[in-house]
């Protein structure tokens, strides 16, 4: 008997396609149900608010709401680009975050590799907890601690004075601001960032290590020849995601550690958006225009990083 042919695009074909999809979903309904809360969260808090981006092209009036406010084209962007502080903030954000990315990014990988080499489980757990703990402190608390420790009459300067060395102006120096930002970021986020790489390491097939040991590989050789290549896809994805956030990271940290003396080096885009939204007269359309610009640059950077990763032979985010 000749099997019935289904022409793609025909109504019968479409029906069959949907039916197959439904059967698939029903078959894995447990998995899909688990997916549902995340999906709903994503729709509610990530996709629906995107409608608000239309404010960038509107003259927002609260009583007309987001949808009812009048369209004004690119008028808001005209004002955005007129402000020299905006261009400064864009370049400064990229500068700070690129430096931060290249310096801080390897630390979680390194920590994960080192923790993986520890054989005493209890010691390993203690260390992991100690490294992860700072992540749970808010930047307000961390900055309070840092300011107290690095102030002229703080712990560090008191110690320097005690041993006869000159005190250092940590908080009011533009030269010291970025190192302070980078070091505090490493201290706070390395432990948390290492969790992803630890998870990737735990997924490596143990037979590879056994084979390496039989071949006479040392611990260091195993680390660099087995562990690192196996976690490279995760490293690549984490790197691409980090590049995608280059224009938007670090508000809490920079806002809380900055002061009048470091104003010229601390005015990143997020601080700029905060200032124009809350410290001057209210202009939600204007700040949305700046945010939209930031998101577009972030997206371009993400796509470029993805392309670069593929070009270099690695895995990208999009297949």
């Amino acid at each position: 008997m000749k099997p019935a042919t289904i022409t793609p695009g025909s109504s019968k074909g479409e029906e069959s396609k949907f039916k197959r999809l439904f059967i698939e979903i029903w078959k894995y309904r447990m998995t899909y149900t688990l997916l549902l809360p995340g999906l709903i969260w994503l729709i509610l808090f990530a996709y629906l608010p995107m409608g608000g981006l239309s404010l960038a092209f509107k003259d927002y009036r609260a009583n007309d709401g987001i949808w009812g406010s009048a369209w004004i084209g690119f008028e808001n962007f005209k004002y955005v680009f007129r402000d020299p502080a905006f261009a400064d903030a864009v370049w400064r954000t990229l500068y700070v975050n690129i430096i931060k990315l290249f310096i801080t990014f390897p630390f979680p990988i390194l920590l994960a590799l080192l923790l993986n080499e520890l054989r005493m489980r209890r010691y390993k757990k203690v260390l992991q907890t100690a490294f992860t703990f700072p992540h749970f402190l808010s930047w307000i608390i961390v900055s309070g601690i840092i300011i107290n420790v690095l102030a002229y009459d703080g712990l560090v300067n008191s110690f320097l004075a005690l041993i006869g060395l000159p005190t250092i102006n940590f908080l009011g120096s533009e030269q010291n601001f970025y190192p302070m930002i980078i070091l505090t970021d490493i201290w706070k986020s390395t432990g948390w960032g290492a969790i992803v790489f630890m998870a990737a390491i735990s997924g490596i097939d143990q037979e590879q290590y056994e084979a390496a040991q039989i071949d006479g590989a040392t611990r260091l050789q195993q680390m660099f020849r087995v562990t690192l290549p196996n976690i490279m896809p995760t490293v690549t994805i984490m790197f691409i995601l980090s590049v995608g956030g280059l224009m938007s990271s670090g508000f809490d940290q920079i806002f809380n550690l900055a002061n009048a003396a470091t104003q010229n080096v601390s005015q990143v885009l997020d601080v700029y958006i905060y200032r124009i939204t809350f410290q001057s007269s209210t202009d939600f359309s204007f700040s949305t225009a700046v945010s939209l610009f930031r998101s577009i640059v972030n997206m371009i950077l993400l796509l470029l990083a993805d392309r670069a990763a593929k070009w270099l032979g690695g895995d990208g985010l999009f297949r």
Partner: protein, 551 residues
Amino acid sequence: MGRQKIQFKWGYNMKANKMFSVKSLFLLALSVLMVLVTACGSGGNDAATGTADEKNEDGTYANNQTISYASVTDVSKANMDDKFHKFFTDKFNITWDYNYIDWDSWPEKMRLWINSGDLPDFASWNYVQGDAMNYIDQGLFYKFPDDWKERWPETAKAYASTGLGERLEEKVGGTYVLPKPVYFQNQPADPLLNQIGVIAIRKDWAEKVGFELKDAYTVTELMEFAKLVKEQDPGKVGNRLIPMSFNAGDLLTGFMMANNEHSRVESAFYKGEDGKYVWGPADESTLTGLKLMQQAYKDGLLDPEFYTWKNSEGGDAFKVTGISGIAGLGGLASYRQDMDTAMKKNLNLDSSEVVHEALIIGEDGKYRNLEQVNFWSSLIFSPDISQEKFERIMDMIEYSVSEDAQRILNLGFEGEDWKEENGELVSTLPEGTTLEDKYPGRFEGLYVLGDDFSVINPAIKKEFRDRSVELYKEKASLSTEGGAMADYDWDFQLYTSRAKDQANFDYATEYANLILQPGDLEANWKKWVESKQSLVQPVLDELNSGDFASK
């Protein structure tokens, strides 16, 4: 065969997960629905109704009203059932739904509430002209009935004293905002200048180092005193000594405004002699102030990290830790009283013996300050407020303006907290106790600000009140006799534009940053002025275009 297999699998799963499939999915759907309903809810505001507030035959209010109010008065220590709070809730038959707003988040929180339609029944709002025009235009504030001034005449008188209320009315065609009067019955001087620009000097230290006490000093003279304090350490505080405990805001007032009355945000754009608007921070006199600031910093007269100080840290070094010789104070008698209390409590010092108040004058000998517009912050009402609630609140405001209420609000209850002797008000509170100690979190002084009563308030030492009035009078005479007072330019202040909003700078931070920059200060200042031109020039173009005042 394959088909059978699938059917078998389905049957197995359905049996094993029957409960999960039906109930769990239903609950999940219900949860999602609840989230959506909550997210899309309107907030449940009272709709505006046309019902008037009902009263009993004896004039008391028939219905209890729950009234929501937001302000920056901290009520964390308040007992809402104490005699003070109960007096007002009983008198007006209300239940408070009080929303405390932290000082630092006040502007942000109010903006979010106003824009999202979540404003309480009424709130204390730090008036911003551009925002006010925008909000009124959008119907985000309640519009007062046309006859409100006849119905609440005392409130209307206080409202008229602010100057702003009626001017704004002309512009927007009705009353939407009640600016709060700083002074109503007890204005200390005429013309009235801003209370800022009064400093406190350690009198005992000045005597020890041989520094002459005067009513007004130039910045250079103050720096000389600070240098003497630094060299001789008359208070024996060692390396904790901060000769001048000024934060960035104090420096703006003390160093910059003393030399250029147009160096601040309130008066930065002003009409020059030729009638054209100019930008004050670009004036040469700004550089004079900046040079002095930098000199003071380089000479170690300021705290090396003054720029990290928050609001009260400068003053605390003077009145709490006692390690400073000069601090910003302000001209209100209540500030002086607070300083007295703090010094007694923390340093066991009688401030009358050790504090001298003075003004700062420019290097050219001229006194400079801002004309004090007679309002600070305002009251606004939710556009959804019911007529009953609005009338009840207005009745409370009307009462709060009266002399009787002012005495209760500022002194407490007659016979218990104060008495009248030979026509003078006398506080009977135990020595060292304030009304705030007895009745914490008093927010019921809804309209006229406490500054007015502070001029006659016996809870504040008479010598502090007298000195405060004396300094107000001195400011008035200095500014009219050869000094310079930055006029409150109503045309400019009531004018709104996007360019004006964009050219709004935090001058205290900007100046502090300039003096901390390496390199030549004059070159840095010129570069800074140049960098601001792309935002400043459009405002000047608008202001000098002629008809801006009508916009």
